[in-house]
Symmetry: C2
Amino acid sequence: MASEFELIARHFTPAAPGPDAGVPLGVGDDCALLAPRPGLQLAVSVDTSVAGVHFPADAPADAIGHRALAVSLSDLAAMGAESRWCLMSVTLEDDNDSWMAGFASGFHALCQASGTALVGGDMTRGQLAIGVTVMGEVAPGQAMTRSGARAGDVLAVTGALGGGAGGLALWQRGERDLTHPLLGRYLKPTPRLAAGLALRDLATAAIDISDGLLADLEHVLTASGVGARLEPEALPLARGLRESLGEKAAWRAALCGGDDYELLLSLPGEALGEAQRRLTLEGLALTPIGTVCSGSGVSGVDLDGARGWQHFGGGEP
Amino acid sequence: MASEFELIARHFTPAAPGPDAGVPLGVGDDCALLAPRPGLQLAVSVDTSVAGVHFPADAPADAIGHRALAVSLSDLAAMGAESRWCLMSVTLEDDNDSWMAGFASGFHALCQASGTALVGGDMTRGQLAIGVTVMGEVAPGQAMTRSGARAGDVLAVTGALGGGAGGLALWQRGERDLTHPLLGRYLKPTPRLAAGLALRDLATAAIDISDGLLADLEHVLTASGVGARLEPEALPLARGLRESLGEKAAWRAALCGGDDYELLLSLPGEALGEAQRRLTLEGLALTPIGTVCSGSGVSGVDLDGARGWQHFGGGEP
């Protein structure tokens, strides 16, 4: 069997970062050394993806690599931070070389697409799981948080909803055509980094939709001390969702399904047009789905006992 | 059952960091926001500890919390970086509240002792494992790396060796008296942060001993392009090691045992006295154990096929 060091060296020694990457010392020592840009704050987050909980263990290896990084980058997107660096921990049952090559290719491709330098990590033995720490930069006062939504703001979402839950449902039914748009949405979500950067001076609050629209909206409302009225008929459903799941389940997936990794934002109504123009330049829709109001909780939607995804006792999407 | 959010809130919402902690936004949003100090580099590392691989699943919960953070902080110590912030990922089979309370108390106590602010993390379901990302600061050019050892340098280690492997052997034999010094060394190692800070302007290279002295020495020699001659009789054996394991196994634990988390440093011979004086102020020994020479590999010790700990195919200590 290959040793831990050989496996890491073979698949996870990236090309030396360029001079703009801010990496005076990369992979291979006890720590990496990074050079944050003067005057900026560091935005940091970690997400762990566990096989059988967050993704199917038999998903394509490159999708698992992409997805593990994407869910962490999505947190940087929600803050409006620019992605700079990441660290990766892989726990593996055994060292399947071709699996590792696929995993690494998916991970590296998204690193490159998002301008993120892989600067370290570790590899351990156990149930398949991947933890990814991301570090980005944002000027003081520019980050979007969950706590700034104000009564009267418009609520809007990027892209389309329900694709994550819809893709998972298809996968569980045995669908393996990876060109199916819903499977793509589920297995290889696109972190909305460009949207976060484009909207951070317009939005009053933001969150990424990982636990489901309703659950993540509640996080924003609680942090901001406000309520919201949703217009469910306005929800942008992912392409193919109605056809694949039927009307009711599609609507439920959009409201409560996890794993969409779109951004939910609040912003003043007069900024909506400008925000939509900016995202059009990114090829991305921004759809108003309700309004922020004083009070608490969500009205306008029959919750029907549905809640977003939580580990340990939460309902499934 | 408690939800993920409740569990995190109950045990891992630390006291609001003080104004000196450099945490403009702490736990509770998509990302934490940190304020790195101007002109310093960021030293970052991640380590994952898996139950049954890196620690016994039935170890005391507070020791598991302490240890998971300690092994990551040890990497900052080896660079001579000042610890500032950490992120923690816990994967748990179920949510045992009293276990979590113990785990959190061990983790928080070491955060406090090391001046490290916990700024985020996540909790997932699966085989017990803990991933900890640490972030520290160091002035450009001040970090110790593995690559600076020069022929003629003295090799020295902090503290004592073999305690990690000795403690593990005792645990496996059923010893549960946590006041036994070897069990303490194994279950609650002390990251040598103060030693790293004290010696970073004297040492030419450094590494923390996690894989075993010989294996970690080889990392330094390879990175520096040099060889070494060890004086095995000079190795400072952990207290109680000979009595517990016998002469031969004690020596082997000191040479090849993992989990000591002492620092191995190279430094010019004329700096040794000053380095020892500085560590005496920390109550810590610094023992010369050999010299760096030109060439490659290690002489002076009968390796007897022994190598340090590696996952995936490496020999056990």
